[in-house]
Symmetry: C2
Subunit: 344 residues, 2 copies
Amino acid sequence: MLTDRQLFILQAIIDNYIQSAEPIGSRSISKSEGISYSPATIRNEMADLEELGYLEKPHSSSGRIPSEKGYRHYVDHMLLPHRLSEKEIKNVKSLFAEKVMETEEVVKQSATILSSLTSYASIVLGPEIFESKLKQIQIIPLNMRAAVAILVTDTGHVENHTVTLPESLDGSDLEKITNILNDRLEGVPLYKLQEEIYKEVAGLLKRHVSSFHDALRFTLDTLQKSKHEKVFYGGKTNLLSQPEFKDIDKVKSIFELLEQDDTVHDLLKPDQDGLVIKIGQENDYEAFEDCSIISAAYTFDGKPVGTVGIVGPTRMEYPRVIGLIQLLSDGLSDTLTNLYNNGK
Amino acid sequence: MLTDRQLFILQAIIDNYIQSAEPIGSRSISKSEGISYSPATIRNEMADLEELGYLEKPHSSSGRIPSEKGYRHYVDHMLLPHRLSEKEIKNVKSLFAEKVMETEEVVKQSATILSSLTSYASIVLGPEIFESKLKQIQIIPLNMRAAVAILVTDTGHVENHTVTLPESLDGSDLEKITNILNDRLEGVPLYKLQEEIYKEVAGLLKRHVSSFHDALRFTLDTLQKSKHEKVFYGGKTNLLSQPEFKDIDKVKSIFELLEQDDTVHDLLKPDQDGLVIKIGQENDYEAFEDCSIISAAYTFDGKPVGTVGIVGPTRMEYPRVIGLIQLLSDGLSDTLTNLYNNGK
DNA sequence: ATTTAGCACTCGTATTAAAAGAGTGCTAAC
DNA sequence: GTTAGCACTCTTTTAATACGAGTGCTAAAT
């Protein structure tokens, strides 16, 4: 168990290092507010803290920097709730104050705000639409060969596909199909669509539409499962300002990873609804060995549907970032829920 | 006017430099295929080419590198049509072979392909929708307070806004409004919508809907002018592999510029339908002083509606990139035109 | 039993000097 | 007109040295 003095010193070192990115020496700690021991005493404590694994030295005669274990302890046990500045709060709140909002727009803006308020890169996963329920289907013919199929869900999500029209289907067939689909599929969660088409729709199509085969294929095309939810990034360039990423190869491998939406989605998928902090090697990718990732799910109707996250160096301003992410994810949850659930 | 020998030497230097990124010395040119002069002779020619402004020296005793004027001359007068490899052609063609396509998806994929086939960053501006004509409007209520408004254009573009419902409008009002809009606005180009609303729609609303004021405001909200066309990026990270961008500050300023969609849009907006090549300082931004940008507009119905572009170092593989960009922009033009215009 | 002053020691960084190497420009000969 | 030869220039590499921040340890002070 760490003594109070050790905790104080650990805290001082981490806070300083987060600020300066330089190894911290005993002298500077000894001079810091609230402590009155000589450098030699501090040195002894630092040696102990190193032995316990909370600190490390870049080389034998340098000052100390926090180890991953040090950061972990800091984050788990030593974090004082951080007061965000008026300006920060105002900034975030203003995002949610807008009256007319596209969900996607709000989510995208979240990424932008988050990165502009930190010097890190932000990632926001758009709301998962898998569970949301079909509200209405529209099929709008564009010309003889193509039509646009539009799906609207109860969460205001609009999904559209351009589909080619089989020659065998004429305008009245389309109308019939649309009616059948709207009649049978309203309220069905998107992930069940395919199943329901076979179960509920196929029979009706056979009865009412002449070229059944084309009609069914067309229907399946139209309602094909939509892709992953979108991933929005903000301020990747910020990472280039961090001294730990002055090595271009390191940045490159990070950026390459961040260009793979699938991987990123995997990394952040909202499986928990609390705050997740991954420090350095706790991340599963080698490219992130010098990074920390802080993320929080936001919810709709109580269920986690998306994620707000920050990627930065392990030397991250944890308290502030955590505050911001919580503010933002709460805001997103409220916004979604208010907008689409209240009117129920 | 340059002699044949000077042209040959200039060509050799540029080709070599594009390959190696190292200043080229007289000896290596002298040894290259197709020339049989001694290094000393080459040196004399190189000195002349330098005096004429086509070459420059990083320092007084180094080999030569092409100047911007050199590249310009190369691009304008010396470019042999480049044969793309089978693989490249197949790769691009496969993109356009798909049957069911979302315009947006194709455009996005274009950016990805373009960057994967080059070691540069690609930018693709989505098709301009300003001129396209309204096909249909749908307003779908989600709950008591919100509705989704969907605009479909004749080019298959789908635009949707979430709008809040004024309390004074009930379901039958919405239906009336939708009918009026579809009746009066079909075929109107998007940029004229606002004008037409005042001219054609306002009067009808006044006559048929009780709370005229809310209805008009709602209508305007619904059809609010949509944002800029989308900008898709691919392979920004590629730039980090280029030796000229090993300086992190340079990369940073480039990336910062590339994060501003507005600026990028401005830079590439499809004002000409030919190929545009901007070399180094010909670009208006300081961040691009070591970059070249090659772009080509793609067309719909004969009019330029979007742009395909590549950002790389001035030392760019011009012939290959030009070939690729032309292939791709032609492909996009064909695809758009076939898909949405043929059926007319 | 803590704490601290003192001091030798370590190791990274900056500085300088010297050497190596690639390539040029010029002159004079071919 | 072409080329061999050579001195010269300028960058890059390597080595040697000095500097300095910070440590660890010991012995004295509290």
